[in-house]
């Protein structure tokens, strides 16, 4: 298993939408390397003939009748939003200038 570099942590942080500071990259690179080294031992026992279990219960799609029920009002749904306008969530620009 490969070790995890500072550059790799920076890449992971971008994927995970975390704007890490430089000192955090060094800090986390060492720690993540240690943790990944320790957890990589799972592959020692994971033979091909062992089926994976993703959940303790067999998951089934649960459907309910498509009835109209009371739900949150727009005001309630928006009440925790950092910014709102005209009964909508107001977000920063999502498209770049180029």
């Amino acid at each position: 298993m490969p070790g995890i570099s500072r550059e790799e942590v920076a890449h992971l942080a971008r994927l995970a939408r975390l704007e890490l500071k430089d000192e955090e990259l060094d800090h986390f690179a060492g720690q993540l390397d240690d943790i990944i080294g320790a957890v990589a031992t799972v592959s020692d026992v994971a033979d091909e003939d062992v089926p994976p279990t993703s959940h303790p219960l067999p998951l089934t799609n649960v459907m309910r009748p498509d009835d109209v029920r009371p739900s949150l009002t727009p005001e309630q749904a928006l009440s925790g939003a950092p910014a709102q306008e005209q009964q909508r969530f107001k977000v920063p620009q999502i498209l770049g200038e180029d």
């Binding site: 995970a16 990589a40 026992v45 279990t53 620009q93």
Partner: protein, 497 residues
């Protein structure tokens, strides 16, 4: 009148029902206790004084009108700050939700209200339930009432500390890798992780959805059972909720008896890294089970040695996905929205400012484990280990009725001791994790004080899924036998605050 905060929940409920005391008096006594000690303990993030007193008045009025009330009516309860509470701040121990006020109640909270319990407030926790010490709370650590310089366990340290410090007789916790049982062990209290799906997860802020389970924290086995029976049961709001009758845990707790019960001692949970005094107390408790008439055998569960590794791939993977919802758009903190930055940049700046170290570590670990090229080696292998652990349990439960082990390898460690060493911190949940991976039921009950440091030791009892009543049967038998031996409940040996 005796100190109302020292009564068990069962005693309090009986006293209220008989008219010996009002719910308001009980609530006021607990609020006064919180005022007196919580500055030192820091079990609570938020105390809902007015809400608690209003509910207590309502209970007293119902009783005066002769209405039929539930078995815990008027009894105070503290709720981990991971459950949404309508109109009451919910932070999950994180800066990213500071000041957030939910618009709805978690199902567990709704059930507490319907059963007329009095919710005192929200308890401290490791941020997003990630941690084993409650040091990762963005609002500062909780102290262990046995020794305030030590951790109360985690992530539900606030809930266990609140009941240990007599600030509440009951509390609600959540257990993803041991966050109810591990704090119970190191505070000398009772903590139960019900069968996965036995208690609704609706309104619990999700960390790792296939592992998270809410459950009761209490000072006695019977109190835990009474609370368990209030919060358990099928919920159509949670698609992972089990639609089967809840086992009669209260009857089991009232009739603790282990005669003829087959008990398996998990061989893999001892050895290097285990404190001598912890093993000594656990061994004595196993001997006690034998004296009480149980048949004790050693059981081997070889895959349990890989449980910690599998957990630290599965839980971070699920958390990296679950925590994507904290994007600074719909609720919570927003940082860097100065009109020049894109939504993506604002999200990254907000998550950097709003998440603590452990959350960032796990989000990145999960992102790594799920990334293309590594998925099979890490996440896929971890899910196979989960299968092996489930098989180990099935094999073991073919031979025995319950399994036992230490709940934690050591007693409570000093605050700060493991803060910079994530792997050392993760070891605190070594014995509790297999039950989360397999979804079965488990409990921690006190089994004495470690001779070397005088701190509480917990015994873990594990039962098959939907056999939660077996935990209570064993726990109640042990509690009665231990207290007969000690002459009093273990908590009476804790220093006064």
């Amino acid at each position: 009148m005796a100190d109302l905060t020292r009564l068990t929940a069962a005693e309090t409920a009986e006293l209220i029902a008989s008219g010996g005391v009002t719910a308001v008096e009980v609530t006021e006594a607990h609020l006064a206790r919180i005022d007196a000690v919580d500055e030192k303990v820091h079990a609570f993030l938020y105390v809902d004084r007015e809400g608690a007193l209003a509910k207590a008045r309502e209970v007293d009025e119902k009783r005066a009108r002769g209405e039929r009330l539930g078995p815990l009516a008027g009894v105070p309860v503290a709720v981990k700050d991971l459950f949404t509470t309508e109109g009451v701040t919910t932070t999950v121990g994180s800066k990213i939700l500071e000041g957030w006020v939910p618009q709805y109640d978690a199902t567990v909270v709704r059930k507490l209200k319907e059963a007329d319990l009095v919710i005192l407030g929200k308890t401290n926790m490791d941020e997003f339930a990630m941690g084993s010490s409650t040091e990762n709370s963005a609002y500062g650590p909780t102290g262990n009432p046995w020794d305030l310089t030590r951790v109360p366990g985690g992530s539900g340290g606030g809930s266990s500390a609140a009941i240990t410090a007599y600030e509440a007789p009951l509390a609600i916790g959540t257990d993803t890798g041991g966050s109810i049982r591990q704090p119970a062990a190191v505070t000398g209290t009772v903590g139960v992780k019900p069968t996965y799906g036995g208690v609704s997860r609706y309104g619990m802020v999700a960390f790792s959805s296939s592992l998270d389970q809410g459950g009761p924290c209490a000072r006695t086995v019977l109190d835990a059972a009474l609370l368990h029976s209030v919060i358990a049961g099928h919920d159509e709001m949670d698609s992972t909720s089990i639609d089967q009758p809840v086992p009669d845990v209260v009857a089991a707790a009232r009739n603790g008896d282990v005669k003829g019960l087959r008990v398996g001692v998990v061989k893999e949970f001892r050895g290097e890294g285990y404190q001598a005094g912890v093993l000594q107390r656990v061994d004595e408790t196993v001997e006690l089970l034998r004296e009480l008439g149980a048949e004790v055998v050693e059981v081997s569960c070889p895959s349990f040695t890989k449980a910690l590794a599998a957990y630290y791939l599965i839980a971070p993977s699920e958390c990296s996905s679950n925590l994507a919802r904290f994007d600074a758009m719909r609720y919570g903190l927003r940082v860097g929205d100065d009109g020049t930055r894109s939504a993506e940049e604002v999200t990254a700046l907000t998550r950097e400012a709003g998440f603590g170290d452990e959350v960032k570590r796990r989000v990145m670990l999960g992102t790594y484990a799920l990334s293309s090229g590594y998925y099979d080696a890490y996440y896929g292998s971890a899910q196979k280990v989960r299968t092996l652990i489930t098989r180990d349990f099935e094999r073991a439960f073919g031979e025995v009725d319950v399994l036992v082990s230490p709940t934690t390898p050591t007693t409570a460690f000093p605050i700060g001791e493991r803060a910079d060493d994530p792997m050392a911190m993760y070891l605190a949940d070594l014995c509790t994790i297999p039950s989360n991976l397999a979804g079965n039921a488990a409990m921690s009950v006190p089994c004495g004080l470690a001779p070397e440091d005088g701190l509480p030791v917990g015994l873990q009892i594990i039962a098959p899924a939907m056999a939660d009543d077996r935990l209570y049967r064993v726990g109640a038998a042990l509690e009665a036998a231990h207290q007969a031996r000690w002459g009093h409940p273990l908590l009476e040996e804790a220093p006064s605050l």
